[in-house]
């Protein structure tokens, strides 16, 4: 090799290095999150405080940071909202955890809805009218200062229900949707106190959920709960905030128990999109999940320090629109039961702590067990069936991608998330239920055997 050639050689090596370097860097770039495929999006919500992550992601510009131009629109009720997502008039929505599960299963309208993001924990309560409260109160144990001991169990409601039954009048309560968290929570609370909330029998065409019922449950949209109870159509209801606190403010009813007391840190709303949307617009899906995670984190940052600012946003007429004080009551960590009986419930609304945003399979399976318990699922299913359906709806894989990209660009530290390398999507057996029954998401059928009231293996109506 002569000198000339060696120079050329050297040049060649250098250029080769450059080429390699460039290709490596482009490879790294392709790992980075791409531009959103769909930039203009419309999200729906129901006027409840737990829609906060969507409002915050918009108002704080997190959606815009992802290059997403989002319009947020209140929907009339849960059915309209679900239909909107299915027919594509809205791209995604604040949904009841049971809605994507039921839709994918084909209970009600069939459509494969998925959720990459769980919106919050807790946030609901059960309220009864003043009249019912006066009748319940004598049988509730009191503390030294005269206030009632919490949690209040449905045992104290039982005599009131029986008394009405003897007079031949039905005891009626409102919940927000047949597959809503509220329906299952209300049923759980009633059944734990020995009151039968009624079975569904969809295979016989009976979707009223009132077979064998001591208490008749029916659907009322959340914002109309207080006025429906005031009109005397229902004696009580289970709903999210601010509609329980509003009953206190309006002096028409008393919240008796929060869902935090029925099941500590129960999963509540989810963000639902169709499976087709996630498939067609993968970058958009990850990006909107990123924005929502950031919003949830902001809501819980520094021990709820941002909550007053969040309440101010939520009280705008285009979001929840109720008075600041009403929303602030529960959002800022207190809850007013009987008028004047304000107690600290720091975890009444949890948006980010305790991995609240991660879509756990075990959460989906809990909803499925309750659907089976009350007959919405008519037949026995294997444990594997529960797990397969949960995996079809809950998508921690999308969540993980969004979270990892947030960790990679330094927005949120890895310690704020579950350890993705070992996370299975199943929470350890959970104990904090009002009736002390332990729930293990790995064994749904065994769990169903533990309930006194409810369908068990082999039972069909």
């Amino acid at each position: 090799m002569n000198c000339k050639k060696s120079i050329i050689c050297a040049l060649r090596t250098v250029s080769l290095c450059v080429v390699v370097a460039i290709s490596v860097s482009t490879f790294a770039n392709s790992e980075e999150l791409g531009e959103p495929e769909k930039e203009e999006l419309k999200f729906g919500f129901i006027k409840l405080t737990d829609m906060a992550p969507i409002a915050i992601a918009y108002e704080n510009g997190y959606f815009e940071d992802e290059g997403l131009y989002v319009t947020i629109e209140a929907q009339a009720n849960w059915k309209v909202l679900l239909n909107g997502v299915i027919d594509g008039t809205i791209d995604g929505a604040h949904m009841l955890a049971g809605q994507p599960i039921a839709a994918t299963m084909g209970y009600g309208t069939k459509a494969n809805i998925i959720t990459p993001f769980s919106m919050d924990l807790n946030g609901n309560a059960i309220t009864v009218s003043n009249d019912v409260w006066q009748k319940m109160k004598p049988s509730i144990p009191k503390m030294n200062d005269g206030r009632t001991v919490h949690p209040i169990k449905a045992d104290s409601l039982k005599p009131v229900v029986e008394q009405l039954k003897e007079q031949g009048k039905p005891f009626k309560m409102g919940m927000v949707f047949p597959v809503s968290t509220h329906n299952y929570e209300l049923r759980y609370w009633l059944a734990a106190g020995g009151i039968h909330p009624g079975f569904y029998a969809p295979h016989k065409g009976d979707t009223s959920g009132q077979i064998d019922a001591d208490v008749l449950l029916s659907v009322t949209p959340p914002p109309q709960m207080p006025s429906t109870m005031e009109a005397g159509t229902i004696h009580g209801y289970c709903v999210g905030e601010p509609w329980n606190q509003q009953a206190v403010f309006k002096n028409i009813g008393v919240p008796v128990v929060t869902d935090y007391e029925i099941w500590k840190d129960n999963p509540e709303k989810v963000f639902g999109i169709t499976a087709q949307f996630a498939e067609k617009y993968p970058n958009t899906t990850i990006r909107l999940t990123r924005a929502l995670i950031r919003a949830a984190k902001w809501l819980d940052d520094n021990n709820n320090a941002n909550r007053p600012a969040a309440v101010k946003i939520l009280s705008q007429s285009n979001y929840v629109g109720a008075d600041y004080d009403v929303i602030a009551n529960s959002m800022t960590g207190t809850f007013e039961y009987e008028k004047g009986d304000k107690r600290a419930v720091p975890d009444f609304n949890v948006f980010f702590r305790y991995n609240a945003t991660y879509p756990y399979y075990s959460d989906a399976i809990w909803y499925l067990t309750q659907m089976r318990r009350w007959g919405q699922i008519s037949d026995d299913k294997s444990d594997q069936w529960y797990k397969d359906l949960a995996a079809k709806v809950y998508r921690p894989d999308i969540y993980t991608k969004a979270a990892q990209s947030l960790i990679a660009d330094g927005t949120i530290s890895a310690s704020e998330f579950p350890d993705f390398s070992i996370e299975t999507g199943f929470k350890a057996p959970q104990q904090h239920f009002i009736d002390d029954i332990v729930y293990d998401g790995n064994q749904p059928n065994a769990y169903l055997e533990k309930f006194k009231i409810g369908l068990k293996n082999g039972e069909k109506l």
Binding site: E40, E64, Y69, V70, D87, P223, S227, E230, S317
Partner: protein, 329 residues
């Protein structure tokens, strides 16, 4: 002689003057004073009764509370405009950054994604009602002329018209909603589904007065005019153009005026349910919010709805009088 004549003259002049003065005074009292008195009494009764109605959302709003809401609605509009401005600025910067990164990127300016303000909702409502009304005119007038021209067709269609005429928009709406969402499918729709739904509902309800009036107007054309047409042997289209239309225009416009009134009333209900971002949605949203100012805001909307309805009717009346050759009707 001449003196007495002057006297008579002057006395008649003063008499006339007094008469004119009296007339104008009467007119002024009729036109201005009496309405003012009426409104004052109404405001008085309103504020008294409002104080004694206690709802679970607080006191029923009196005139004061409503006026306050008007100004706060305007303030909200101004704030929202500023936010929109900032939104466009941010978007421009973002687009520029994207363009710098990727020269092939096709920039697109997106409309502001924030909430509609009260003023914008009024405009949406006006646009929806006008669109629905025009759609109704396009169907109703030809149908009415056709029915008016032939007794047989009239008796064939009349029962249908009579049956559909009293149907409430609320009954139509679920059907319209489902049909629209089934048929109106597009990736990049020009207008939203809720707009189409409310518009068609408005059309369906405002169609009938126009059909009936047009057909009556056409069927009651003076026989002399019809005979002229017969003598001249005008072909059908010429007959309609030269004889039927001019002769029945007053009735057609009477029908239109009635229809427009119906359309405006129906619109509010349709928007409430279809969630079209107009005044109906405003009322519904405020009702759902249940905040302490909700009732006052709804009352403000009620006044605006009434006022616009009144203005629209005046405009239609003016047009009706302009096109009518019989100025006395």
């Amino acid at each position: 002689m001449s003196l007495s004549a002057v006297k008579i003259n002057s006395s008649t002049i003063t008499e006339r003057l007094i008469k004119v003065a009296k007339n104008t005074l009467n007119k002024v009292t009729d036109m201005m004073l009496l309405p003012i008195v009426g409104i004052t009494i109404f405001l008085f009764v309103w504020s008294i009764t409002a104080q004694s109605i206690h709802t679970s959302l607080g006191e029923f709003p009196g005139p004061n509370a409503v006026v306050k809401q008007f100004s706060s609605l305007y303030d909200e509009h101004v704030i929202e405009r500023e936010k929109a401005e900032a939104f466009y600025n941010r978007q421009e910067k973002r687009n520029a950054a994207k363009l710098a990164k990727n020269p092939d990127y096709v920039t697109k300016i997106r409309a502001y994604t924030g909430k509609e303000t009260f003023l914008e909702q009024i405009i949406t409502s006006l646009m929806t009602v006008t669109a629905g009304f025009i759609f109704a005119v396009i169907i109703a007038v030809p149908l009415g002329i056709w029915m008016g021209l032939s007794k047989r067709i009239n008796s064939a269609f009349n029962p249908i018209v009579q049956i559909f005429k009293p149907v409430s928009p609320l009954a139509w709406l679920p059907l319209v909603t489902m049909v629209v969402s089934a048929l109106y499918v597009s990736d990049d729709p020009m207008v939203s589904k809720s707009f189409i739904t409310s518009m068609i509902t408005v059309s369906l309800c405002s169609l009938w007065p126009m059909v009936i009036n047009t057909s009556i107007g056409v069927s009651t054309i003076n026989n002399d005019l019809l005979n002229v047409s017969k003598v001249l042997r005008l072909p059908t289209l010429r007959h309609i153009q030269k004889i039927v239309l001019p002769a029945s225009i007053p009735m057609i416009f009477t029908g239109m005026r009635l229809s427009f009134g119906v359309a405006w009333m129906v619109l509010i209900a349709a928007e409430m349910l279809a969630q079209n971002p107009g005044l109906g949605k405003f009322v519904w949203d405020e009702f759902q919010n249940g905040s302490s100012s909700s009732l006052a805001r709804i009352m403000a909307a009620v006044i605006v709805i009434g006022f616009i309805g009144f203005l629209l009717d005046r405009v239609m009346l003016q047009i009706q009088q302009k096109v009518s050759w019989d100025k006395s009707s």
